[in-house]
């Protein structure tokens, strides 16, 4: 029996098509994935992301612990309220998970990890935190709702108590606010983060207040959106998906995540030695963005022929915004020209492109020719 978020009955009542995702019974769509995708790009949509795992980390040496745990530098979080995206690596430099860490106070950070990796992440966090005396506490009592789209913030703000509204309105991108009084006075944790490439908020709220928040957002015209739209939105925005684009056998260098690695002097994070070694000896393969100008759909697992050897499609979709197929591909290092994907025995040309593919609802430069 798969696990259910507190919004499960609400999704079903709305006619959602449900699927198993990482052991959770989640909405794939509420009718049309394409409509949900466009709603987020053009107005506002909301996702139940309560299946993801919120974890609180508390202790006087919390920052020191995170310096050790994360490949990105927690010292980029200089004052409370800022968020950081990072990988958590194993000793081989492979990615155990990617996560976002919120700086609540100097002895209190919150992280959100993937649903499907929860069972390995929690013991890993406990084990790494113990020597630092940092307490790791999962927060299954919280529901998480991501409201995303150009109109998302404007839809959320009226639900915030007047006294807190300005504070939430002024949140910069990648900042969060705690102790916000939300709808009916319910305490919210609000972050201006997301996984769609659009502006918006992610709201953490106690389970018992989640349904009323969801319904209030729906009443305000926010379109419920499922995991299907979440996947096409995040790939257009050039964001990795754990398990598909990287895993424990892929380093950040190979997974398009070099930008999240901080080799700051003297910081001994888990996996650093392996990363430095791979960098010195040469990274054999890399992740690139590709576009297919021919008709068709790029899918996970399709073979990509290059002049330097074969590669493979990682995340691949038909992009609703662009009207053509886009993907991440893992290819031998330096392969950019003469890329061809094998679709049912037919080789079709691919173009290597810089990503994101879509920004502010429009194709990025070089995506459409």
């Amino acid at each position: 029996m798969s696990k259910q978020t507190t919004l499960n009955a609400t999704h079903r009542a709305a006619g959602a098509k449900m699927v198993d995702f990482g052991g959770w019974d989640m909405p794939l769509n509420y009718g049309s994935q394409l409509e949900e995708h466009h709603a987020v790009r053009r107005a506002a949509g909301m996702f139940d992301v309560s299946h993801m795992t919120a974890v609180d980390m508390r202790g006087a040496r919390c920052r020191e612990f995170l310096r050790h745990l994360l490949a990105n530098s927690v010292d980029k979080l200089k004052k409370p309220g800022k968020a950081l995206y990072s990988c958590m690596l194993n000793e081989r430099g492979g990615v155990i998970d990617d996560l976002i860490t919120y700086h609540v106070s100097d002895d209190y950070f919150r992280t959100v990890v993937n649903a499907a990796t929860r069972d390995k992440d929690l013991p890993w966090l406990q084990r790494q935190a113990a020597p630092f005396g940092v307490a790791i506490t999962e927060r299954p009592d919280l529901a998480m709702i991501a409201v995303q789209g150009p109109e998302a913030r404007a839809k959320v703000l009226p639900l915030v108590a007047t006294a807190d509204r300005e504070r939430v309105e002024k949140l910069g991108r990648f900042f969060c606010a705690t102790d916000v009084h939300g709808l009916a006075g319910a305490p919210w944790f609000v972050a201006r983060t997301g996984y769609t490439g659009e502006d918006g908020f992610e709201i953490h709220v106690a389970n018992e207040h989640a349904v009323e928040l969801w319904q209030a957002l729906a009443a305000a015209g926010v379109h419920p959106a499922g995991l299907g739209a979440r996947d096409t939105l995040r790939l257009e925005a050039g964001m990795n998906l754990y398990g598909q684009d990287m895993d424990e056998d892929i380093t950040p260098w190979e997974g398009g995540l070099a930008w999240t690695v901080a080799l700051d002097a003297g910081r001994d994070f888990i996996g650093r030695a392996a990363l430095e070694q791979q960098k010195a000896s040469g990274v054999p393969r890399e992740m690139i963005g590709v576009v297919m100008d021919d008709k068709g759909v790029l899918r996970h697992g399709q073979r990509v022929a290059t002049d330097k050897g074969d590669g493979v499609i990682l995340s691949g979709i038909f992009s609703p915004t662009l009207g053509k197929a886009i993907a991440f591909a893992r290819v031998p290092a330096g392969a950019r020209e003469n890329l061809r994907v094998d679709i049912r025995g037919r080789e079709l040309p691919l173009r290597a492109v810089k990503y994101p593919f879509v920004r502010d609802g429009k194709p990025c430069e070089g995506i459409n020719v």
Binding site: N29, Q33, L34, V297, R299, F318, R344
Partner: protein, 131 residues
């Protein structure tokens, strides 16, 4: 769920056949099938002149979720394909039993039609599918 037209015959894998004048048969996928697939974004059709064989894969439809093979419900030569689907694959979502047809074959073995399900039997099949 739209009504299942009474003049259609079905294969268990959800393709429909409509027998027309001159030994021709039009082929598509059922409304139930398009519902299962979700929003369609690409259709790969056979070419006019291709010989297709009942039970063999002869086309592919791709939704936002996955690619699915279409199995020929009858054998014959393809005499017409629905070119409009190339730019508007969503027509299948909108009108699976009508404008969303895939191709027309000139039947080489009309007896094969007897092996297909009538509308009532197909309705029962998909009902059982849903439980």
């Amino acid at each position: 769920m739209s009504e299942i037209p009474g003049d259609l015959k079905f294969q268990k894998s959800h393709e429909w056949v409509r027998v027309e004048e001159g030994g021709r048969a039009r082929v598509g996928i059922s409304d139930h099938a398009q519902g299962l697939l979700g929003d369609l974004v690409y259709v790969e059709l056979p070419k006019v002149g291709d010989k297709i064989e009942a039970g063999s894969g002869c086309a592919v439809v791709e939704s936002v979720k996955a690619a699915s093979d279409i199995y020929a419900p009858v054998s014959g030569e393809v005499v017409e394909v629905n070119e409009a689907l190339s730019d508007k694959p969503e027509t299948i979502n909108e009108d699976a039993f009508g404008d969303g047809w895939l191709f027309v074959v000139k039947l080489s073995n009309p007896d094969e039609l007897d092996a297909l399900l009538g509308p009532d039997d197909y309705a029962e099949l998909i009902e059982n599918d849903e439980h």
